[in-house]
């Protein structure tokens, strides 16, 4: 299920929220005598609704998520049980990490690995997952993919979340979660299960046990949610149409202007798509009493590549910093090791986004640029006027998106050639696309700056009463507008489901 669907918005969400609000955190059932049964009612509802939410989109491979959850929960309990045995604790950690990385290797990277092996050794190996799918289909006719492994929804997110628990437990940053319902509700928490933000266990550990839900929090959550919905449905989907059309053109023929319009459209699409999703998740989290970490902070205003990655998909960057970069020694072991560590992290960041050379190269491209900034270029950028360093960073990011969203490296090469005028500067196609989409482009530019937030804050400060009155009107207006786009959902893909 996706947040921007009528099914979620008008059926799943109201039912879950209303039941949730009226449930207490715990229900104590007396069993006679001194014995009680304590049911963590809200966590149980989160578990069940999250399971339903996930299985709606992934009815078969939901078993992978349950498997992963069970292993990590058990690993956590054993780690606590053998608290004084470093060897056993390490073994628990290794089992958990290997299982999660193994799931990713099999369900996300196996096609890529096998294709590469087949090319190098001229072999003809069929992916075992495909063989298994065929066998299952033969018996049950579930329609599992028989040609390529279909990425189970959200696998990149929930495996990382789950690992954050066992790793932090091993590092003694957190306490063990004894309740199976408590731990499972963390993994299946529906706002974040399929597309992040990557909420680390540490972030919500306290709230899993005790949290409050009140009108102010719910209202704040509604504002976040509605903002995210608007970003996704009104901005990302509409500007995405442009890129879908230009992406399908022959890159050997498109003019520079067309290429730029196309990739700028994608630049905005991916930002509003993903940050809109994160806003919706944060908002839903607040309605349920959780405070998720921020995932985006106006990344296109960054003045260096390092800054961009502190503002873009923040929770992924944090994850790699905490669990890869710092354990590898971070920047504390000399220049050589720092550079090595940075390149490892950025290669992995690229690979996390998808199993193809484009993504690995895309990650390393940022890795190299960040290394260069570390070596002194960053200080130069700081001294440059913000317009120059901002434009520099934006262009670097836009070039990155070409690598990111063209299908092969040769496509990317041809697209770059077109962007630099290899097939002429402008043509009537570009003029048409620009003229018919100028409004949406301007809206996107405006919405990716912090201007809107600043105006709203100033308005709130100066005219508090009016602001308070306007908020519900804006909620209603955006919800109605988005509903009309959802009813007419001719175009409603969620980009970040690929990862």
């Amino acid at each position: 299920m996706v947040f921007s669907s009528l099914t979620f918005l008008y059926y799943f969400l109201p039912v879950v929220l209303i039941v949730y609000i009226f449930l207490p955190n715990r229900i104590t059932v007396p069993l006679g005598g001194d014995r009680h049964l304590v049911i963590p009612a809200r966590n149980l509802l989160i578990l069940l609704s999250g399971f339903f939410f996930y299985a709606w989109g992934e009815p078969f491979y939901v078993i992978l998520m349950l498997f992963s959850t069970l292993i990590d929960y058990t690993a956590g309990r054993f780690m606590a049980k053998y608290d004084d045995s470093p060897a056993k604790r390490r073994l628990c950690l290794i089992v958990s990490v290997c299982m999660n990385v193994g799931l990713l290797a099999v369900f996300k990277y196996s096609d890529f690995i096998i294709d590469t092996v087949n090319v190098i050794f001229r072999s003809d190996i069929t992916n075992p997952v495909i063989l298994a799918n065929r066998a299952i289909n033969d018996v049950y006719n579930f329609g599992l993919s028989e040609s390529r492994v279909a990425l189970p929804i959200g696998i990149s997110f929930y495996t990382f979340q789950s690992m954050s628990y066992t790793i932090d437990l091993y590092l003694r940053n957190i306490k063990v979660q004894k309740s199976f319902i408590g731990f499972t509700s963390y993994v299946t928490l529906f706002p974040q299960i399929v597309a992040g933000p990557i909420v680390r266990y540490e972030d919500v550990a306290a709230e899993l046990d005790e949290r409050t839900v009140n009108i102010n929090k719910i209202s704040e959550g509604i504002c976040f949610f509605v903002k995210g919905l608007a970003k996704k449905v009104l901005l990302a989907n509409n500007i995405g149409i442009i890129w879908t059309q230009i992406k399908a053109m022959d890159y050997r023929e498109i003019s520079a202007a067309t290429a730029w319009i196309g990739i700028l459209a994608f630049t905005f699409q991916i930002y509003f798509d993903f940050s809109g999703y994160s806003d919706m998740a944060v908002g839903l989290g607040k309605m349920l009493g959780f405070n998720f970490p921020k995932n985006f902070d106006h990344p296109y205003l960054s003045r260096s590549v390092s800054e961009f990655w502190r503002r873009w998909h923040i929770t992924l960057g944090t994850w790699f910093r905490e669990y890869v970069y710092i354990p590898l020694g971070g920047n504390r072991k000399g220049h050589g090791k720092t550079i090595r560590n940075l390149l490892i992290v950025w290669g992995l960041t690229g690979l996390w986004h998808g199993a193809s050379w484009n993504f690995i190269l895309w990650g390393l491209y940022f890795g190299v640029l960040i290394v260069i900034e570390r070596l002194g270029w960053g200080n130069v950028l700081k001294k440059l006027p913000s317009v120059v360093s901002g434009l520099y960073t934006f262009l670097i990011v836009v070039f990155g998106w070409v690598l990111f969203d063209t299908n092969t490296l040769s496509d990317a090469g041809q697209f770059f050639k077109a962007m630099f005028g290899g097939n002429g500067l402008g043509d009537s196609t570009a003029a048409y696309y620009m003229a018919s989409n100028i409004v949406i482009f301007l809206l996107c530019i405006f919405a990716s700056t912090d201007l809107f937030g600043k105006l709203a804050a100033a308005f709130k400060k100066k005219k508090g009463k009016l602001y308070a009155g306007v908020t519900p009107a804006v909620t209603a207006a955006v919800l109605l507008l988005c509903t009309s786009y959802l009813v007419d959902a001719t175009y409603n893909p969620f980009l970040y489901f690929r990862f």
Binding site: P14, W56, G143, I215, Y432, S436, T483, D488
Partner: protein, 383 residues
């Protein structure tokens, strides 16, 4: 005090949010369900039934989501209001339809000449294998004739180029009928529907009159017809796609020869191999009261339709798309029997159905848009 005020605002915000989230689905559930949407010209999703198989292959979920959006309260109003909003923001294309000043036209995809070559080769093969005069007419569509009204630089393939290319590629046995000039020079008359992809009866008449010389008949002049305005509430396929209200509804005209129609029998074969259904008129008036009013001309597309007239003349085979439906009635004046076949609905070789040499002439009649995207003419090359 200030804190309290903020709380009231929060409360109102929650009330607004939840009342929308509750009333819309409840209204959707309570309202009676329709079986099909006339407006969108499609059957609506039925409530799916649940089983282990449909759950695991996701069909149940997909169908249920379609069901919810198909029956969502006020569905067409939501879609319409979105269209109005978008057009007021300057958007001039919707769902593959360009919105012009007072008409809708189709955004046709760029032609794939490899695919066109396959059609041309098959037609050439057909003409060389069968000893019968073959005529070919490609009718430009409204997107071409009114291209000057499109916004500047809107993608719109040049149909003149496509037609020229195709006509040049035909071999000797094929006589081309170029109706482009006659459509172009009469563009200020009502020759194309504003809300539908077909030509009007007047458009068809002009082409019929222009083709007479090459095909060997003397067309009836316009004053030999009584024109009946059969319906003025036609909202066609373009309308259904764009759901754009600000274009005037179309009028369906039926041209009756003043001397009287001389049609003995119309035989419609909906499934080849089965007995045809027989009618005594080319006009299926029941369709005038439903959405798809163009089907008043010889019904919806069927694989084979045979019209027997009481007039003298030869036998004509028409291989066609739906543009032929309002065109064929004019031809009945000059032929004793006309058989229309629609290759889209025929999965076997034409040779198993009929022998073209049993006919005096063969006419291919396609509009440029359907010719460009056609993948069925190539079946003529199969044995």
């Amino acid at each position: 005090m200030k804190k309290l005020k903020l709380n009231i605002s929060s409360l109102i915000n929650c009330v607004v949010f939840f009342s929308l989230l509750i009333t819309l689905p409840v209204a959707t559930t309570l309202l009676p369900k329709k079986e099909r949407s006339e407006m969108e010209n499609k059957p609506l999703q039925k409530m799916p039934s649940i089983s282990a198989k449909t759950v695991f292959n996701r069909k149940y979920m997909n169908d249920l989501e379609t069901y919810i959006s198909d029956h969502f309260v006020g569905r067409t109003s939501w879609i319409r209001s979105k269209t109005v909003l978008e057009t007021s923001l300057g958007k001039r294309e919707r769902n593959g339809i360009y919105i012009l000043k007072n008409r809708l036209v189709e955004h046709i995809a760029e032609p794939d000449y490899n695919s066109i070559d396959k059609s041309v080769n098959a037609v050439n093969k057909f003409a060389s294998e069968n000893d019968v005069p073959v005529f070919f007419m490609i009718v430009p569509t409204s997107a071409e004739i009114y291209a000057d009204e499109l916004s500047k630089n809107a993608p719109n393939p040049n149909q003149r180029d496509v037609i020229n290319y195709v006509y040049r590629s035909f071999g000797k046995g094929i006589t081309t009928l170029d109706v482009y000039p006659v459509m172009e020079s009469n563009k200020y008359q009502y020759i194309y529907y504003r809300t539908d992809h077909h030509w009007t009866t007047r458009g068809a008449y002009l082409a019929y009159a222009a083709a007479g010389k090459k095909m060997g008949y003397t067309p009836l002049s316009e004053d030999k017809y009584d024109i009946e305005h059969a319906s003025d509430e036609f909202q066609g396929t373009f309308y259904s796609k764009a759901l754009y209200d600000k274009v005037e509804n179309d009028t369906i005209d039926i041209w009756h020869p003043t001397a009287g129609e001389n049609v003995r029998e119309v035989a419609v074969t909906t499934m080849y191999g089965e007995e045809p259904q027989l009618y005594d008129s080319m006009y299926f008036r029941d369709y005038l009261s439903v959405k798809d009013k163009y089907a008043a001309f010889l019904g919806t597309n069927a694989p084979i339709v045979t019209i027997k007239s009481g007039n003298e003349g030869g036998k004509l085979l028409v291989i066609k798309d739906s543009y032929a439906h309002c065109y064929a009635p004019f031809l009945t004046e000059h032929y004793s029997e006309i058989t229309l076949i629609d290759l889209r609905y025929i999965q076997i070789s034409y040779k198993q159905l009929l022998n073209p040499e049993d006919y005096d002439q063969v006419l291919f009649l396609y509009n440029a848009s359907s010719f460009i995207s056609d993948t069925d003419l190539r079946k003529l090359a199969y044995d």
